[in-house]
Symmetry: C2
């Protein structure tokens, strides 16, 4: 509880500095009371794990303590960005293109909306949205809330984001998308941007890229793929079919800090067309991006984003790629899928204790835990509601015990259920066995 | 040169992972070829230095590797944010208020525009800007380009940012501001947001807060203070007069990673009124911000920003504050001003070699270097143009020699000149003497 933790910790900012011994105590107690996101029993978030090379990369990054806006002060890191982003674009099938790192997937998605708006309506930058027709975006009901956020931030308004229904697997229904586009046109508004999610947050579903790309082509809309979560599958020969058609996208968000296990924060946004970012965001500040420098100023990246100062998030990923090699990433991704399939298999073997909600496409495994007293009841509306209540209670017990963390949430008509994520390559089958046994130990009397 | 560096470094991403020895070589060569921003002869940027406690803070942050969106996975760090941000609001004179860390000052300024828009026109979130009258922003010609960037990103359009002229010291002219506001109203547009800069990027000038606040009150405009650079002066009894009236602002940007010497990135945005951030940005994603958690969910901060995942930028600042104490920060700020005044004094002692452009308000010292051949010429338009050309040439020599880095830029009618920044407390008077001697050594034959 926050109130208790406030009592335990000494967080006060003193007038006079404290001696080194006190600071070491501060560090110890911070790590003691902080959640161990690198522990193989932390299944709570899409980002987890503690890759040791990525960690070393972060340490060196802090020592170098530089900003990424100019080649002048980040020469090595700017070149590394170019190499890594080009490599990632190869996996997207983008022959040329433009990419940048952004502070998280939500901002990456916002950059995509801004890039699309700039490309399709270059006037907006000077004149603002009031000079444009009403633009409308589409995204699935299961997509990440950042599509709504981008619409609010960029001034489109959340009413102009149409949420499209999903099929039983959580994938956008293409027929519903076309209906919505036609309804927009009938109103005299302009269908503008489709956000196609590859790896939804809860279900881990992949919207079908090719049929959505066909519609985008037919109606002149921008195709953005939010693969913040799913993007890593592109590195696996076995699983990249989930993103078939990705090369048709106009822009793609892909977060290495999720499925690829890079340290937080490492998020990328890619555009199929070259030069979009600079055109969209350039403000030409003479005091930073002097055009008469003694080197090729196209290496300066600061004017490509609304950020100005930009943290160095590339070195850890570059170093990790050197250490694992592309093959190492592939093995890592394949293993996460295998371990998740092992969890599915184990859940199915214990139908009295666990109820699998649906077959996963990815590493999100959705299920209820069934305590003793509900085990011999047939499934019913009431029982499902009760399983939902138990889910939140069991999570509270997990957190108080501190042995296990799995998140839960409701989804559409379903009440709360657990969503297990394996994104840490330290997780073994033994950890999965522990997970199931521990849930039963903590929850069987609920 | 980028092309040469690409030849020297092996940046290739291999299919098979490399052994540890190769990775160590990678790290060594990265640090070797990277610019030493912590070196006391690096005067190029507003952020510099390498505070060792802040560095330790970053290292622990990477080990903890967590996201800041919920108390659930960042309990200790969320509490630290609350403590530090409250302390900073005390220096702003905000009794209540709302604050958050953002990925850089430009994004902080964008959050301010979004917060103002939400507070003044709560409808925009749903309906978008097309439902509003045309909103207009004001900022000085010397302000940071992020005011323009925010207008482009948020959909207002850069034509609706009016740039107000400055006085001879680089401060916004309040009479010109009022003229512009009246002109906006005459057009039927709505004066909405004034961006008052405390510490401009080039000159280090402080726009006069009180008269601007009077105008904001008179015309019902939002007063934002961009103190990304200058904010640190609030910690100094001697220099905080520069920001007299700050408590009248509606929002303030303040970057500890600049004048306070915290590691990159550490940027804060503060609002005088409580609850603005949540109202503005909340999207209520049930899968992340469950309302039935077993703790007080007002500790979850993720829905207060458009970011979703947010990096932990607080621990390093908290730990640094524990180590230095408020008095330590005050001494640090005062010392930066003292050393800068020493540079001014030395420049004035050598009028044949250096020309001071204006008396600084802050630690930005603006000057030309005068090579041998121009020393006995009287000042003239042609001589000034020549000094501008020499500035860029001398910078190229600095970079090729690698002994010194100072940035340069033009400003309004002035051609290129040097802008020296002291923001690293390791800089001594000896380093300033070195700076001047080294410029003369490298440049006297230009």
């Amino acid at each position: 509880m926050p109130e208790e933790l406030e009592q335990i910790l000494d967080l006060n900012l003193p007038d006079k500095g404290l001696p080194l011994g006190d600071l070491l105590k501060d560090c110890r107690s911070t790590l003691k009371w902080q959640v161990k996101t690198g522990h193989p029993h932390f299944f709570n978030q899409l980002s987890s794990g503690l890759d040791i090379v990525s960690l070393a990369g972060e340490w060196l990054t802090s020592v170098a303590n530089t900003n990424m806006f100019t080649y002048e002060i980040a020469p090595v890191f700017i070149l590394m960005e170019n190499v890594v982003l080009k490599k990632m674009r190869e996996y997207l099938g983008f022959v040329h293109g433009d990419s940048i790192l952004a502070p998280g997937g939500s901002i990456s998605n916002m950059y995509a909306v801004m890039g699309a708006r700039h490309k399709m309506f270059p006037n907006y930058k000077k004149l603002g949205l009031k000079a444009l027709p009403q633009l409308v975006m589409y995204t699935s009901v299961d997509s990440h809330y950042s599509a709504m956020g981008a619409a609010a931030s960029c001034g489109l308004g959340t009413d102009n984001v149409i949420q499209i229904g999903t099929d039983s697997m959580g994938r956008m229904r293409v027929d519903k998308l076309e209906e919505a586009v036609l309804a927009t046109k009938a109103k005299g508004h302009v269908p503008f941007f489709v956000n196609c999610t590859c790896g939804t947050t809860v279900v881990g579903a992949f919207d079908p890229i090719n049929p959505i790309a066909d519609l985008c082509q037919k109606y002149g809309m921008w195709l953005h793929i939010d693969a913040a979560w799913g993007g890593g599958v592109l590195l696996s020969k076995k699983h990249r079919h989930l993103m078939a058609g990705v090369e048709r996208a106009n822009s793609v968000t892909w977060n290495p800090h999720k499925l690829m296990g890079t340290h937080l924060q490492c998020s990328t946004i890619h555009f199929r067309q070259d030069g979009i970012l600079l055109g969209c965001n350039q403000m030409c500040a003479e005091y930073l991006f002097q055009q008469d420098k003694h080197y090729d100023v196209s290496f300066d990246t600061g004017d490509k984003v609304p950020q100005c100062g930009r943290r160095n998030d590339i070195f850890k990923l570059w170093l990790m790629w050197r250490a694992k090699g592309t093959e190492g990433f592939e093995a890592h991704i394949d293993q996460l899928f295998d371990i998740s399939q092992y969890l599915v298999k184990r859940i199915k073997e214990m139908p009295e204790k666990f109820h699998l909600i649906q077959e996963p496409e990815m590493v999100n495994v959705l299920f209820w835990y069934i305590p003793q007293r509900l085990r011999d009841q047939p499934q019913s509306k009431e029982r499902i509601a009760e399983l939902g209540r138990i889910t939140a209670q069991l999570k509270a017990r997990m957190m108080n015990t501190g042995t296990l963390m799995i998140t839960y949430q409701p989804l559409r008509e379903l009440p709360n259920f657990f969503r297990n994520i394996v994104s840490n390559s330290a997780v073994t089958k033994d950890d999965i066995d522990f997970l199931l046994a521990e849930m039963d130990r903590l929850g069987n009397d609920l």
